[in-house]
Amino acid sequence: METRQIQETLQMIDEEHLDIRTITMGISLFDCIDSNVDKACQRIYDKITTKARDLVKVAQDIQMEYGVPIVNKRISVTPIAMVAAAADTDNYVAYAKVLDRAASDLGIDIIGGFSALVQKGYQSGDRKLIASIPEALSETSKVCSSVNIGSTRAGINMDAVAQMGTIVKDIAAIDPLKCMNLVIFANAVEDNPFMAGAFHGVGEADCAINMGISGPGVVKRALEQVKGQPFDVVSETIKKTAFKVTRVGQFVGNIAAKRLNVPFGIVDLSLAPTPAPGDSVAEILEEIGLESVGAPGTTAALALLNDAVKKGGIMACEHVGGLSGAFIPVSEDQGMIKAVQAGKLSLEKLEAMTAVCSVGLDMVAVPGDTTAATISGLLADEAAIGMINNKTTAIRIIPATGQSVGEDINFGGLFGHAPIMAVNQSQPTDFVARGGRIPAPVHSFKN
């Protein structure tokens, strides 16, 4: 091994924030189902704490031995709306509490799967789960919730779109910060290791390890070496860098799976930013040649970035999954925050960007007086982008209760802070009130 390669690797970790963003153990809870809530919760607790008993220790050992930081240790479980559907209760908060307790006892950072999949309609458990979300999130500290309200195959469940606008407002009324624990999806993926949207899909194995890697800083540094060169070179540079970054995920995932004696699921190729300086997706876009993220050209630059990351990463892994692309959460990215504060990035431009990146309107703060109908409208727009483009989209939106445009809401730690963005005040009230289902698009009929 050449010293130059050793130096490059160390520099990627030390200076450019290459890290394993998350090692997420997916655990199926189907064998914990019971009509008695207490029995079901005991089984859930036992299964999670048995399967993931060594997760934190194994992650810490790998970090020590290989010198690559593993930032988050997480668990995703079968959507609780299915697990609890047979239970003799109308309130699923007990399930959220047992997830929270298991996560705390294991030293896990976050647990996801307080979820429902209602893209085509509700089963009885879905209704109860969604109604329980505000209380469940306010009564727990580590639980994340997600609801899938649309898909390319099923269309968009507009009843759920309307309901989720109200749910977001209900959560914000209790504590706006809890809104960051809820993601509302179209085309949700079943093996996503990233929170808040992770759940362990129905078609997954009993238990699996999924990895999420990160390294926007590494990509930016590589692009600094090719200033002024054509896009062909930009794309090649991103591909090569993404390959190296993703190899770390594949490598660490393999070791972790072996040590935990659990099958290795997938590597999610996403570039996930943090508020730390030099760990920003926005700065990559600016390195490509934009004065600020949000400038005309931003969507094209992001499309190129997202595609090149996938191309580079796919060859580096045995199995690719999850969301795999570039994340553009506003509050978790210094460059995005700066652009919003300077008035250079609007909600509408952000929406356009979500058509070509791997997620949606993520960690976006809006004024506290934003109506439920407006949130539902934003959600419907995002779901439509996902449905038509055959990709995952989502909203994780925070109505900052009592605050307005120009102010700032702080989430603390890895979650950063978000300037409150202006929302179009024109109301979609009657649109949202129609209910029913937007039919699946014509290109969903591929059989």
Binding site: M1, Q5, I6, T9, Y66, G67
Partner: protein
């Protein structure tokens, strides 16, 4: 188990001696090494082999970190496979 040991700090007398003595004490065989000054910084990289498990990896890391503090350099030890995974097809 092959490991990569990197030593970075201000150049002064005795860094190579101190580090190689410590590695000998820990029964780590040096397979390859290179040393240079980068912009005034002493930079040394060694490939070592830990042949028996008389010391745990954590204990070795702890001792090298302590030595680094004593002689005012940063000493890092990592298993080699990570570097291979990133740099080799």
């Amino acid at each position: 188990m092959k490991v990569i040991i990197t030593v970075i700090g201000n150049d002064k007398v005795g860094i190579v001696a101190a580090v190689s003595q410590k590695l000998a004490d820990l029964n780590i065989n040096i397979i390859d090494m290179s040393q240079t000054l980068m912009q005034g910084n002493f930079t040394m990289m060694l490939v070592g082999e830990i042949s028996n498990q008389q010391n745990s990896f954590a204990a070795i890391q702890e001792q090298l970190t302590q030595l680094g503090t004593q002689i005012d350099v940063t000493i890092r030890i990592q298993r080699q496979e990570l570097f291979d995974a990133i740099q080799k097809l």
